[in-house]
């Protein structure tokens, strides 16, 4: 159970968090949304015990600032911006695993599932990895241990569709035993991952709502698109989603997309509406 009680935070006379009261229970998947400067990251940093603040934060009754090891041992965190760490990937994994009391092999296994060639990058500096590789590794470190709270700031932003699908599968495996807080600027990015939405603005909670929880994280949708004419840009976009042409004229395209990604996918497709003669998404 996570509890925020009257949390306020001020930076140089600017009130960034203004009396936040919030309770999040086990198994809840919360989307923390809001524009830049709404206070999402500050709230997360208070949760991680990184900021001093007025009010109280409690995770299972413990203050994260006073009981860092006990509390942070339960939290898997994926930041929005990967840290510019110069240490080799192997050392980062070993360091994190040792602190979290987990086996580095678990982190390796998850990284491999996400499509990361972990053995090939163990000696490479973390800072020299691509954005997507960094994101995959940080997700692997967060999920490669027994965390009961997962705090993720735009976790899938840099992932390709295939890795996103695997990421959703990994989250689905943790639904029963973890609370998830997923921060994003846009609801459509995370709506299908969560069952509760909290919107922040100017340091306050302006919306706290439950979401219909019909979409399961492991859903797959069979997609079929018929084009009026071939367009190279659209073909490339579809190829990025692993949707392939099934006829010689490249007018009929078919493939599977992850259920939680449906809104994101439709957002991409909507740019080419004039080209589409027929579109169907069917639950497999």
């Amino acid at each position: 159970m996570i509890q925020f009680q009257n949390i306020a935070k001020t930076f140089r006379k600017t009130r960034v968090l203004d009396g936040i009261d919030l309770r999040i229970g086990l198994g809840e998947r919360v989307a923390l949304i809001g524009s830049n400067g709404a206070g999402k990251t500050t709230l997360i940093r208070c949760l991680l015990g990184e900021y001093t603040h007025d009010g109280e934060v409690r995770i299972d009754g413990l203050d994260p600032r006073d009981n860092r090891t006990a509390v942070l041992g339960k939290i898997g965190f994926v930041p929005q911006l990967p840290p510019p760490l110069k240490m080799p990937v192997g050392q980062l994994i070993d360091f994190s695993a040792s602190l979290c009391g987990t086996d580095p092999a678990r982190i390796h296994a998850i990284a491999k599932r996400l499509g990361l060639d972990i053995d090939g990058i163990l000696t490479r500096q973390f800072v020299r990895l691509s954005g997507g590789m960094k994101q995959k590794l940080l997700i692997a470190i967060a999920l490669g241990r027994d965390a009961s709270v997962l705090v993720m700031d735009e976790p899938a932003a840099n992932l390709d569709p295939e890795a996103r699908k695997i990421f959703f599968d990994l989250l689905a495996e943790r639904l029963e035993d973890a609370t998830m807080i997923i921060s994003s600027h846009r609801l459509d990015e995370v709506s299908s991952l969560v069952n509760r939405v909290i919107e922040m603005d100017m340091g306050k909670i302006v919306l706290d709502d439950k979401v219909a929880d019909d979409v399961t994280l492991t859903d797959t949708l069979a997609c079929r698109i018929v084009l009026k004419r071939f367009e190279l840009a659209f073909a490339r976009a579809l190829d990025g989603w692993r949707i392939k042409a099934s006829d010689p004229g490249q007018l009929v395209w078919q493939g599977d997309i992850a259920g939680p990604d449906r809104l994101r996918f439709l957002g991409i497709v909507s740019r080419y509406t004039a080209l589409i003669a027929d579109l169907s998404l069917k639950e497999a």
Binding site: E50, R68, T69, F77, P83, M87, F95, S98, L138
Partner: protein, 275 residues
């Protein structure tokens, strides 16, 4: 304790990869090599010959270089990590703030002291091979003096690093601290102050509050036990401490200053926002 050693190991590995460490090692290794090449063990000054002469010169040079080197590289530690955005992630891992801060100090201390000591040890090994007599007492005391010097300036560096909000500010402050210590370095000048009716005890106390002066005087005392080169200040120092007492003071005071500075730095680090 496990967290502390993990953090120390992390800092050691990061430092070993850093360019500053390579330059740092090269400087101290180079000094010893040059002293051998230029035949310093053969020259005679103030009755010193052989390895004693080399060690005296080495520690004088080290005293000039080590403090500013340690200060400038250490102040980047906390301030640099904070500025780069490393803290948000690494301090979200289950590591205690004490283990993190002191682990960084331990790691950095090993990295800072090892090359200085290794250079001196290398000189001793080489001298042994060449059949030059090794002054073990002097070697032991100089080693302790260097260990304490590293500890003192590391502590001051960590304090500055914890206070400063940016690397630029931290490096500027480190340079200022070094400059101030350097400006108050001259005990001969204090000798003049004593002649000018300033209380001798006050003048010397002021001088000996400066760790640079403490090290310099301690190094001098080994080959000039009466501290003749210091002029009237020598009487006050020797009356106050005695020869052995000063040797102990020269180790205890800077060590205490370093630990105190690091502790204050830790309290500041722990009290505020981390990222």
């Amino acid at each position: 304790m496990k967290q502390l050693w993990l953090t120390a190991k992390l800092d050691i590995v990061e430092s070993l990869r850093a360019r500053w460490f390579q330059i740092y090692t090269l400087v101290f290794g180079g000094i010893v090599a040059l002293l051998f090449v230029f035949g310093l063990t053969e020259s005679r000054v103030l009755g010193f010959i052989g390895l004693s002469r080399l060690l005296v010169t080495y520690i004088q040079l080290t005293m000039a270089i080590l403090p500013i080197f340690v200060l400038i590289t250490t102040v980047r530690s906390v301030a640099g990590d904070r500025e780069a955005g490393v803290f948000e992630y690494l301090l979200s891992l289950p590591v205690g703030l004490g283990a993190w801060f002191w682990g960084k100090i331990v790691g950095r201390y090993i990295v800072v002291f090892a090359p200085v000591f290794a250079a001196m040890l290398g000189a001793v090994i080489w001298a042994t091979i060449q059949g030059i007599e090794v002054p073990w007492d002097m070697f032991g005391y100089y080693t302790a003096l260097l260990a304490v010097m590293a500890m003192c300036f590391l502590g001051i560096g960590m304090l500055i690093s914890a206070i400063a909000r940016s690397t630029d500010m931290a490096q500027g402050a480190a340079f200022m601290v070094w400059l101030v210590l350097l400006l108050f370095l001259d005990l001969i000048l204090l000798g003049v102050m004593i002649q000018g009716k300033v209380s001798p005890e006050l003048a010397v106390t002021l001088a000996l509050a400066n760790p640079l002066q403490v090290f310099r005087t301690a190094a001098l005392a080994l080959f000039d036990p009466q501290l003749i080169v210091l002029g009237p200040s020598a009487y006050v120092i020797l009356d106050l401490f005695g020869s052995t007492g000063y040797k102990i003071f020269a180790l205890a005071y800077p060590a205490a200053l370093g630990v105190l500075s690091a502790t204050i730095g830790y309290l500041i680090f722990r009290r505020g926002d981390l990222p």
